[in-house]
Symmetry: C2
């Protein structure tokens, strides 16, 4: 900042004074509210322009009945979330809402992120890939409309917009089984509700193909590291699976990494499928077969759900389940052997 005396930022009062009207009129004009006539409008607008007036958001928030603010919780490490955020921005704007972003990081958990948003007068919350316990979500929902994106919230009033993850993973299994794989393993995503749904999909998918005897779930979490660890576990000794479905793309990429390091041919020796169709998976370099959650659709529904609560007076619960879509890329192919015992 330069050394000069910092000029006090102009207030509404300054604009009003400059335009020769009351602050009430100035406020009305600047927000495009009906009332003030054409000539007045122009005078105020001109004055505001001359002074470089920008309304003070804190003051406006405090005075306004509504904040028109939607809080968004995202995991800053996830490329999938990054993409969702882009889309939430657009969707919210279309409905005349603004966003407040709150990041989950290594040492800033979801509860913390939510608190910031509550303190910021958000009217509703969009939780991307929340891992919070159902009860907490239900409690939150008692305070303000909440929509959970990408995870189920059993038996709570919370709105949900998600892909049918179980179906999604089952589709991945279908795809692999169709290629002739039988020993298909799954890298789990931890104890959260999202992981549970996907795990179930894997189990169902396998049984559907009478592959229950080949069920193999290894522990994991949503990070790249866990994929690499899973690879070590799966291929430690003897004969590993011919295909692996991972909890998400990040995890799948970690798995690919480890395989690559060990000179395991993908998809020749092992096929790999991820989940999310994040920007990561689309890198030609990675070229990961994955399951898309149709992020744009997901986000559109989520924002609409929130807006209907706020502006449409909807009070009944809503759950939108979007069918996932298998995106076949380069990491899957027929198994080298026939997959038999």
């Amino acid at each position: 900042m330069s050394v000069e005396e910092p000029v006090r930022r102009p207030r509404l009062q300054d604009v009003a004074h400059e335009a020769g009207v009351s602050t009430a009129t100035a406020s009305l004009v600047l927000r495009g509210a009906p009332g003030p006539g054409g000539a007045t409008r122009e005078r105020v607008l001109a004055a505001a322009g001359r002074l470089g007036y920008r309304p003070d958001r804190a003051a406006s928030l405090l005075a306004r009945r509504r904040s028109r603010l939607i809080g968004v919780v995202m995991d800053v490490r996830s490329t999938f979330h990054a993409q969702l955020v882009e889309e939430v921005h657009e969707a919210a704007e279309r409905h005349g809402y603004d966003l407040v972003l709150s990041a989950v990081t290594r040492n800033r958990d979801e509860a913390r992120a939510v608190e910031t948003l509550l303190d910021s007068r958000c009217e509703a919350l969009v939780l991307l890939g929340s891992e919070a316990p159902t009860a907490r979500l239900a409690a939150l929902d008692r305070q303000l409309p909440v929509v959970a994106v990408g995870r189920p919230v059993p038996s709570a009033g919370v709105d949900v917009v998600r892909a049918a993850d179980d179906e999604g993973v089952a589709m991945a299994v279908d795809h692999l089984a169709g290629l002739g794989h039988r020993r298909i393993a799954y890298v789990d995503g931890g104890r959260g509700p999202i992981a549970a749904g996907r795990r179930r999909g894997y189990q169902r998918g396998m049984r559907r193909h009478r592959l229950g005897g080949h069920l193999q779930v290894v522990a994991g979490d949503p990070g790249e590291e866990s994929g690499a660890r899973a690879a070590r576990t799966l291929f430690r000794e003897g004969r590993g699976p011919t295909a692996v479905v991972a909890y998400n793309d990040h995890c799948a990429v970690g798995l690919l990494d480890a395989l690559l390091r060990d000179d395991v041919d993908v998809p020749g020796a092992v096929s790999v499928v991820g989940y999310d169709d994040s920007p990561l998976a689309r890198l030609a370099h990675v070229d990961l077969t994955t399951v898309s959650q149709e992020s744009e659709l997901l986000v559109r529904h989520a924002v609409e759900a929130v807006v209907e609560r706020l502006d449409g007076g909807r009070t009944e619960h809503r759950e939108v389940v979007v069918p996932p879509r298998l995106v076949v890329r380069g990491t899957t192919g027929p198994p080298r052997d026939d997959g038999s015992l």
Copy 2:
């Protein structure tokens, strides 16, 4: 949201009443300000707990002299920025500041992102990888302390914390030349100031090794796509370079993708170097040789710069230039031929 009447959220007044004190005392206690005695403190704290009181941030912002808010502009698409944001969170917290995030997306430009922050009463701005013209930054800096992270801002009062990008790229060239490469190309990052510095580093590096005759800069931008396009240009016909330095990791990964698709061996036939040491580069799968900006150090300096302006009364300009560090991974090696004409 459930159907029940939404309970009005408790105000300071409610807490004060519940504790049998004035709002002044309650405010003092809740902020840990000196004054109220032990017994009173406990009563107020207990009351606040009982009511589940959370201070209203908008009101508090409005009333307070200081907001203790630092605005951060980030590009939501950049994994490098994501990492920086994590670190900014921690650094800011150490100094007792809170963050307001504002994302640059496909259709939300930097100016827009900055406006949101200005309206939010931020006391200072941390701009990650800003591409705004110097004049605009200078103007901004007249309103509040601004620190640009990762880019130079010539001849403006704006504080700058950045890596010596020219040196960084030159180090990459050194590394490649040392391996025996001579035809080393560079994929540019566009017209911004960051790109300019890195381009200059490339040119200097090449001349330093008497490789001026092999200078080859192809147009690009910070995305993956541009790397892929560059590959097509560089290896379109005949003999391409034996090594390529890219503007950043995303661009390098795009380049790697394209090479991989064409079955070009990396680093056998072509070596590739990125820039940023983003999480992307570290994926074992990508395993990209790159130049690290020492993000943690960068962020620490940036936050300190801002805090010194705000709390330390510093007024003179500061520019911190951190030496970059070459991180050699798997995408670089000696050229197949000797690199001669």
